[in-house]
């Protein structure tokens, strides 16, 4: 693996499959252990640098690093020197001076991890940058898909039909998923109202549609995206009710899916908006699994980036 994981596009197919395989091996080696910990990154320091609130991603990375026995420092921008005006570069130089081996960064500005990577010697992992990318989320989604569809180690997602639904325009999850799923051989269709599809989406390595009902019957995987509350007042669609009617996954729509199709969501969900409660909690749903898989995948990423050696 390269020095950093900034974009899902950084991974070749072999590298992506290696991450999924490593996650599976890690999961297997921890199974049945009373102490769920490996000594792999003992003596290494991982910094979680979070400029945006994200409890679930931060905890997932923290748990991943700790299970690999790394020293973990959580650095939240709130109440820190950043809130007193310290720049990203100053923060980067501080982390550099403290000898951080890896920095996991979540930032509200697209591209911030790229800038950080130019200022520090250690590895940088993009844990979500603005409306751009979230590569470990895509990896954990791919890991979940591979497991749920019964594919084994060494395999990609060839021929898997994945429909991603919702606010693609503002979704870093969608961007990273499109890139990674294409690398792994899946066929992706984005479904959204035209206002929530990015300009130039026709050049992306996927199909797109405005019609959810037409896209559901052939899908093996349906991934619902969260609609952020602030979008609801910005004329991307007329009303929450209309969005829900046209693009929400309710029980009636879910019934049109193939019997083995699964439903995913990166969370947190707006229940009743983009997804109905009975679908979110139903047997097709992988939402809780995705969270669990996130830890394994992030362990694999940290392990592969830091080489495993103390």
């Amino acid at each position: 693996m390269k020095q950093h994981l900034l974009s899902a596009a950084d991974l070749t197919r072999d590298e992506a499959v290696a991450v999924l395989d490593t996650a599976e091996q890690i999961e297997a080696s921890l199974q049945g252990r009373e102490v769920k910990k490996l000594p792999t990154l003992r003596g290494r320091t991982v910094v979680n640098l979070f400029f945006e609130d994200s409890t679930r991603t931060r905890i997932s990375f923290e748990l991943a690093a700790k299970r690999l026995s790394a020293d973990v420092i959580n650095f939240s921008a709130k109440g820190s020197s950043v809130s007193k005006g310290e720049s990203l570069k100053d923060t980067a130089l501080t982390l550099q001076a403290m000898g951080a081996d890896a920095v996991v960064i979540r930032h509200g500005a697209s591209g911030a991890p790229w800038q950080l990577a130019s200022w520090v010697d250690g590895s940088v992992v993009n844990a979500g940058d603005g409306t751009h990318e979230h590569p470990t989320q895509a990896l954990l989604d791919a890991f979940t898909m591979r497991k749920r569809t019964g594919r084994s180690m060494g395999q990609g997602l060839d021929g898997l039909r994945v429909t991603i639904v919702g606010d693609v325009l503002h979704s870093r999850v969608a961007r990273s998923n499109v890139l990674l799923l294409e690398t792994l051989g899946a066929e992706v269709t984005l479904v959204a109202p035209p206002t929530l599809l990015p300009v130039g989406v026709e050049t992306w390595p996927c199909a797109h549609s405005y019609d959810l009902d037409a896209a559901l019957p052939g899908a093996d995987v349906v991934m619902m995206l969260r609609v952020q509350r602030e979008r609801m007042n910005a004329s991307y669609f007329p009303t929450e009710r209309e969005y829900s009617r046209r693009y929400g996954l309710d029980a009636v729509r879910a019934a049109t899916l193939e019997p083995a199709a699964i439903v995913m969501h990166p969370g947190p969900m707006n229940r009743g908006m983009e997804i109905a409660a009975e679908v979110a909690d139903g047997p097709r749903s992988t939402i809780v699994e995705q969270v669990a898989n996130g830890v394994s995948v992030r362990m694999a990423v940290l392990y592969l980036l830091l080489g495993g050696a103390a």
Binding site: W114, P198, V199, G200
Partner: protein
């Protein structure tokens, strides 16, 4: 009385000539002038241009003297070959009163490196709500003729109409920053396939083009002069071409960076490339270059926008837009106006960097060049030399240039303001 004899400078047309300057005025031009006891400047091999005139400079003083001062900006301008620059109004305080424009004007005069001509704000505080005292600024010692809310667009069509009408009283011109801000909420770069991939909110071409179309129609309706700042799209070129064909009294400028750089550079997330309007596609650059050559675009204006390090060495979304331009504009004009063999259309270079800007701004003593009786505001360029850009060697107080390491053709060897050197042997005199 100060007397200088420039020997064998090549004017825009014809063979090299000797030029006698007495007390700041060109008094004689001839094939050969022989005089004793005068200061002689050997200008063999140098091209003589009328001193360059910029209609779009941000000098940051008053308010952000940490980024640039009138003095450092003036020095950069002189080194770039300029004898007059127009200082944009978006300072702190805003240049929206006679007091502020006179302060800027007088400071420039005291420094004496370049004529600093303030641009007055169109609206109070650049807020786009009510007209500033345009007449008071026009009547002030600064004799303001150009007004702009640059950085902001005068969005209200009714207010824009009134501004265009009002400045007719003193032959003024409204310079519009064409951006429908309702179409650029949160915009960070050109709206395109790339912005979609990079997850940066797009600044669509139509936000510029719709305002230009509207304002051309308004200028036609009220019979006023309109100047469009920093054209950046092929569509804008077409609209200006159409408006000119209708007889609208509209002029347009293009920046050096929009003639040279494309949006692909944004993929580095290096805020040096963040600018407003944003860098566009290669097809836009081609259209802008073509329009500069055929006269649809009247002038090159720098939009010189110095920024302190902390305003650029940060996340793309938080970085201030803008880049330096005064010391590279002439080179980029030369590049743009060269043919495939490398031959430069010097007449057109002079028109777009000096003659037309001076006429748009109604400057009587700039943009004239080698004419007997004219003020000696001149620039001497060595076309055989080039300069590799070193950000820290630039005269500006800030270093936010995207051209680091690039070789720029043509070197300004001398700049004269009213017959006095501000640049000599390629170095600033003070």
């Amino acid at each position: 009385m100060s007397t200088k004899l420039i020997q064998q400078v090549r004017p825009l047309r014809g063979d090299p000539v000797d030029v006698l300057i007495e007390d700041g005025v060109i008094t004689r031009i001839a094939d050969t002038i022989v005089l004793q006891d005068v200061e002689v400047i050997d200008a063999r091999g140098l091209i003589g241009l009328p001193g360059l005139v910029d209609l779009h400079t941000h000098l940051r003083e008053p308010g952000r003297e940490d980024a640039e001062t009138i003095e450092t900006g003036s020095r950069a301008a002189a080194l770039g070959g300029y004898t007059a620059v127009h200082a944009m109004a978006n300072t702190d305080p805003v240049a929206d009163t006679a007091g502020v424009v006179e302060q800027v004007y007088n400071t420039g005069r005291q420094i004496g490196l370049v004529d600093v001509i303030p641009v007055g704000a169109v609206t109070v505080g650049l807020k786009g709500e009510r007209l500033a005292e345009l007449g008071a600024m026009a009547d002030s010692a600064a004799r303001v003729r150009m007004f702009s809310d640059d950085g902001m667009c005068v969005g209200d069509p009714g207010l824009m109409r009134r501004a265009l009408e009002y400045v007719k009283a003193f032959d003024g011109v409204i310079a519009q920053h064409a951006e429908d801000s309702r179409l650029t909420v949160g915009a960070q770069m050109n709206e395109s396939e790339l912005s979609g991939r990079l997850g940066l909110t797009g600044w669509p071409a139509v936000a510029e083009e719709s305002i230009i179309a509207r304002d051309c129609l308004l200028a036609e309706h009220v019979g006023s002069r309109l100047h469009i700042c920093h054209l950046s799209t092929a569509g804008s070129v077409e609209i200006v071409r159409w408006a000119k064909s209708r007889g609208v009294d509209v002029t347009a400028e293009v920046t050096p960076h929009h003639l040279l750089l494309t949006e692909e550079l944004v993929a580095t997330y290096d805020p040096l490339y963040k600018v407003n309007p944003p860098l566009r596609r290669g097809t836009d650059v081609d259209a802008l270059r073509g329009a500069l050559r055929d006269g649809t675009i009247d002038i090159v204006a720098t939009d010189h926008a110095p920024h302190a390090v902390e305003d650029k060495e940060c996340e793309w979304a938080y970085a201030r837009p803008g880049m330096l331009g005064l010391q590279q504009a002439l080179s980029i004009a030369i590049l743009t106006l060269s043919d495939e063999s490398g031959a430069v259309d010097w007449q057109r270079v002079a028109e777009v960097t000096s003659i037309r800007p001076a006429r748009i701004a109604r400057l009587d003593d700039h943009g004239i060049g080698f004419v007997e009786g004219a003020p000696a505001n001149l620039t001497l360029v060595d076309p055989a030399q080039s300069t590799v850009v070193d950000p820290h060697a630039l005269a500006s107080k800030s270093h936010n240039t995207p051209y680091e390491g690039l070789e720029m053709p043509g070197r300004v060897m001398a700049t004269l303001l009213r017959g006095e050197f501000t640049v000599r042997d390629g170095q600033a005199v003070k």
